[in-house]
Structure formats: structure tokens, C-alpha cells
């Protein structure tokens, strides 16, 4: 039975008790992303702050509807990324995307991805990769908008 390798306990925990859910003020950009194949959707807000030489992620909040994978993923992502400099957060995002595209072959780096390594099993199910990426892509989009608005 492969179900347990896909739905790791961390994923089910975040699904049942999502972190940072519920839209918050203040924020610099808000985006709405949808997975058109299943209708899963997320509205996500990003607030940035100045932290020395470069901006950092001050806050992420969201409202979302969807499957356990998409809900847990946006929760884990928020937990992982809030407080990080934007450049480091983008690198973490890149690492997560690479893990999702690995077809179950990659050895995830826990130092970079933290709890998000629990999603490694998702990469073996092509139909679920978009679920895991929904929140991450929304964050990346919102951050790009916030950076543009700053300039």
C-alpha cells in the first residue's frame, strides 16, 4: 500500500490543522490562483519588509479550498517561508519545484525544505503535482507583484 508514503502524517496534520489560514492585514500583494482541472483555488497575500540589503517575507496568509495535498502544501510553505529573505525563499521554492519534478527519484534536502520533504511522494503521482505546487506558485506570483509595486 503506497497511500501512507503519499499521505505522510505531516501532510495529514497540516490538512486538518492548517497554519496561517485566514486572510490578514497588512499585505503588499494579493493573488488568486486556480487549478482548472479540479477547481482547487487559493487566495494568497504576501507582506514584505526591509531586512538590511534585501527584502524579506514579513507575512503570508491565505484562504484556500482544495484537496489534502494542496491545503497541506500551502500551510507548510507559509510556515517555511515567513521570515526568510526573498532570495532565499525563492531558492527554497526552486528546490521544491525540482523535488516535484523528480518522479520520486530525488533525495530531498531537509535543511532547505524542512517539513516540505514530506511531499516527496507526491512527485510519483503526476496528477497531484499541481495540487502540491498551487500555493507555492501563488506565493511566487504575489511576491513578484509586491516587488514590482515597490520599484
Amino acid at each position: 500500500m503506497q497511500l501512507e508514503s503519499l499521505y505522510q502524517e505531516i501532510i495529514l496534520d497540516h490538512y486538518r490543522r492548517p497554519h496561517h489560514k485566514g486572510l490578514r492585514e497588512p499585505y503588499d500583494a494579493e493573488v488568486r490562483h486556480v487549478n482548472p482541472t479540479c477547481g482547487d483555488e487559493v487566495t494568497l497575500r504576501v507582506a514584505l519588509k526591509d531586512a538590511g540589503a534585501e527584502p524579506a517575507v514579513a507575512d503570508i496568509s491565505y484562504d484556500a479550498l482544495g484537496c489534502s495535498i494542496s491545503q497541506a502544501s500551502v500551510s507548510v510553505m507559509s510556515e517555511l517561508i515567513i521570515g526568510k529573505p526573498v532570495s532565499e525563499a525563492l531558492a527554497t521554492c526552486g528546490e521544491f519545484v525540482a523535488l516535484m519534478q523528480s518522479r520520486g527519484e530525488a533525495e530531498p534536502d531537509e535543511d532547505v525544505l524542512g517539513d516540505a520533504i514530506a511531499f516527496a511522494g507526491v512527485s510519483k503521482y503526476p496528477a497531484r503535482i499541481k495540487c502540491a505546487l498551487l500555493g507555492w506558485m501563488a506565493w511566487k506570483d504575489a511576491t513578484a507583484q509586491a516587488m514590482r509595486d515597490e520599484e
Binding site: M1, Q2, L3, L6, Y7, L12, T37, C38, G39, D40, E41, L65, G66, C67, S68, I69, Y125, R128, C131
Partner: protein, 417 residues
């Protein structure tokens, strides 16, 4: 007339497959696409091995054979839906293309009954597949016509016909509606709506993608002016579908795609067009696929379309009873088999359809999760997404029981039961 499901299953090689590490396959996704019997698979191979040539334009024996096989499939398709004449049958890629064909042809009309403009109305329904919504939205954008629609009454999955008199009026040019809903299973009273449309001079297009594969369908009985379906849901190959239209309409309607084979004469300045159906079949068509579709229709006729319908009604009755017996499961659409096809969409409280589908897949049970290309319908019912199980002639009562057990397993896994 009964159906020997064990014998039928032997005709479908894929049903022997094991999936997800050795689970037997329970394929409950035929409303999405059906599986193919050996007879259809062999027909494709035989066509390519023995008769392959282009049609209508090859001066050799193979060309004659290919043309005869292709045009033979057109005759079979006409008979399959009770059409008066095979020249009323246009081959298309699928029903989406068939509906787009009518929509674009109407948009191309400069005069006559197909011309559309501001003040004209097209009527659809809230339970349509996106393929019977979006082409009409696009046509209305191009022409300035107005799109209107029948609403659904709620979870019982019926069209709200109380609005018929107001919706279908002297401004209505076309009413496009689904015969059997791909989500709710509801079989709509097409005849009643068609009569109302004809009374005001409007045309009627019927999306029969989910009905033609599963029950006897007669275009005249339905009162349709156009009717479309797709081959791959009816045991045929992908890439081939049928648009039927009344002969006088096909003669008057301007062409959609221009190109080879659809012309009568071509000058540099202008062209005249071939008579229907060839007027609407530009370029080299999916020839082997049309032949395969003809063989699929032979196959279903041989099994007996009444027998197939009766078998599916048995599966449906069992599935409705089983699913209704699971606490936390809510069925969308009619709860009894009357006027209902064997596609059942449902919600499981506390478990997202993607997750239900994943657990079922792990047990070898193939279903579909999502909005099934009917987003407005899901929105109307207040449902973000649903799980759908759909049955066909090769499914068994044991598979219905496996589905119910799988849903309970998903509830256990996600700790909601």
C-alpha cells in the same frame, strides 16, 4: 434481453490489466472515455495493414477500399441514431468540434436563418459540459447576440422548466442542451424543450455524448435539428465524432473549415462548396478512426442497445442504494434510476474528491475527480468538486460493491468515519 457480462469482458483486453502493484482494474470512468473491444482494436490494425489510402481522391484499389470503409461507417452512424440519410452525418474530431462547427458556421452566415446579431438569443442550460457553453459564449461575443440559460432546480438535478415560456421566445435562434448530464446522470426532456423551441422558429442542438453510447437514441424522436456525439465514449477510437444535422440545414449553413475536399470549384478569387456532408469535412479526415467507430457501433448493436441500457440500470440501482447507505456521502442528481444514466457524482463529507479518487485508485478503482468540465453546474449546487463513478456494459455488480468499500476506506483513512 440480458447481457452476458463475463463474455463481454473477454472482448476488452485492458480489463485484464493489473494496476498499482497488482490490483485488478475496476474501470469506473467510462463517462470520461470508454475502453475498446478487441474488434475495434483489430479493425484499426487491419485498416492500416490492408486498406490504408486517402479517401475520395486516390485512383487505385486501396483508395476505393478506404473510401468504401469510411463511407460505410457514415451509413452505420446514420442508422445508429435513426437519421433519414447518411448525407446528414458529418464526421468531426469529437463533439466539441461538432458544436464549434455549428457555432462558427452560424457566425459566418451573412443572411438567412443562421445569421446572428444584437437582439438575437441563444439558450443553453446550467448543466452543460463546457463544450456546450464556451463555443456559444464565443459566438455571442463575435455577433453581439445574448446568451441565456435554464437553471437547475438543485441537487435533484432537473432543469427548471418553469422558465421555458420566458426563456424561449421570438428572439431565440438556437437552443443547445445536453441529453444526459455527464455529472448528474439526468436525462433531460429534450422533446418538450425542442417543441417549445420549434414553436418560435428556433433550432435545437442536442449534446448526446453521454446518451448515444448507453441507450437507443433517435434524432427525429428527440426533435433535434443538430445532434452530436463522440466516438471514444462509445467503445470507438479517439479523434472521431459525429455531428448530425437535418439535410436542409446543412445545405443552407455556411462552411466552417475551408480546405481540400470541401470544395466544388476553386478559382483564385473565390470558391464554391461541395454538398453536405463533404462541405464540412475539410482536409484528410481521421479515416481509420471513422472505420473503427463503425465497428464499435456494430459491436454495440450486436450486444443490443436495449440490453446495455438494462444492464447499466441494474448497476445504477445497486450503486445508488450502496452509496446512499454510506453516511457522509451525498449524491448529486436523481436518487432513483428512472430517467437517469449510470454516471454518479457524489461528495464525501470531509474528504476532498482528489483524495477519494487517490484512495480508490490505490485499490485499482478508476474514477474521475474534479468538476468534470461542468464548473457552472458545480457552482450552482454549491460544490467545489465531486467524485464521479460511471458505468458501462463491461462493469459488474462486484465492481459497484468495490466502489462502496473503497469510499468507506477513504473515510477511514482520512478519519472522518
Amino acid at each position: 434481453m440480458t447481457l452476458d457480462v463475463a463474455r463481454i469482458r473477454k472482448d476488452f483486453p485492458i480489463l485484464d490489466r493489473r494496476v498499482r502493484g497488482g490490483q485488478p482494474l475496476a474501470y469506473l470512468d467510462s463517462a470520461n472515455t470508454s475502453q475498446k473491444p478487441r474488434q475495434v482494436i483489430d479493425a484499426l490494425t487491419e485498416f492500416y495493414e490492408r486498406h490504408n489510402a486517402n479517401i475520395h481522391r486516390a485512383n487505385h484499389e486501396l483508395g476505393e477500399e478506404a473510401t468504401e470503409a469510411y463511407e460505410g461507417a457514415r451509413i452505420k452512424a446514420a442508422q445508429f441514431i435513426g437519421a433519414a440519410d447518411e448525407t446528414e452525418v458529418i464526421f468531426t474530431k469529437n463533439i466539441s468540434e461538432g458544436i464549434n462547427l455549428v457555432a462558427y458556421s452560424m457566425g459566418n452566415a451573412r443572411g438567412g436563418r443562421f445569421r446572428l446579431g444584437p437582439g438575437d438569443e441563444i439558450v443553453i442550460t446550467e448543466m452543460e459540459h463546457h463544450s456546450n457553453i464556451v463555443p456559444w459564449q464565443m459566438l455571442c461575443e463575435r455577433t453581439g447576440a445574448t446568451l441565456r440559460w435554464f437553471k437547475v432546480t438543485g441537487w435533484d438535478g432537473q432543469l427548471d422548466l418553469s422558465a421555458t415560456g420566458e426563456l424561449i421566445n421570438e428572439r431565440t435562434k438556437l437552443v443547445a442542451l445536453v441529453h444526459q448530464s455527464n455529472v448528474l446522470g439526468t436525462v433531460n426532456p429534450v422533446r418538450e424543450i425542442a417543441d417549445a423551441a420549434h414553436a418560435v422558429g428556433a433550432l435545437v442542438l442536442v449534446d448526446a455524448a453521454q446518451s448515444v453510447p448507453h441507450m437507443p437514441v433517435d434524432v427525429a424522436g428527440l426533435g433535434a435539428d443538430f445532434l452530436g456525439f463522440t466516438g471514444h465514449k462509445l467503445c470507438g477510437p479517439t479523434g472521431i465524432g459525429v455531428l448530425w444535422g437535418r439535410r436542409e440545414l446543412l445545405e443552407e449553413m455556411p462552411p466552417f473549415l475551408g480546405g481540400g475536399e470541401m470544395i466544388e470549384t476553386v478559382w483564385m478569387e473565390r470558391s464554391t462548396y461541395a454538398p453536405p456532408p463533404h462541405k464540412f469535412e475539410a482536409g484528410t479526415m481521421p479515416i481509420a478512426q471513422a472505420v473503427g467507430l463503425g465497428v464499435a457501433m456494430d459491436y454495440l448493436n450486436e450486444v443490443g442497445r436495449d440490453a446495455i441500457h438494462a444492464h447499466e440500470q441494474q448497476l445504477l440501482a445497486r450503486a445508488l442504494t450502496q452509496l446512499a447507505g454510506i453516511e457522509g456521502v451525498r449524491i448529486m442528481g436523481p436518487l432513483t434510476p428512472a430517467n437517469r444514466g449510470a454516471a454518479i457524482s457524489f461528495e464525501v463529507d470531509g474528504v476532498h474528491p482528489h483524495d477519494v479518487g487517490q484512495v480508490l485508485d490505490e485499490h485499482g478503482i478508476a474514477v474521475r475527480a474534479g468538476h468534470h468540465c461542468a464548473w457552472p453546474l458545480h457552482r450552482a449546487l454549491g460544490v467545489q468538486a465531486s467524485t464521479r463513478a460511471s458505468f458501462y456494459l463491461y462493469n459488474t455488480l462486484d465492481e459497484v460493491d468495490a466502489l462502496a468499500a473503497g469510499i468507506r476506506e477513504a473515510q477511514r483513512f482520512f478519519a472522518v468515519a
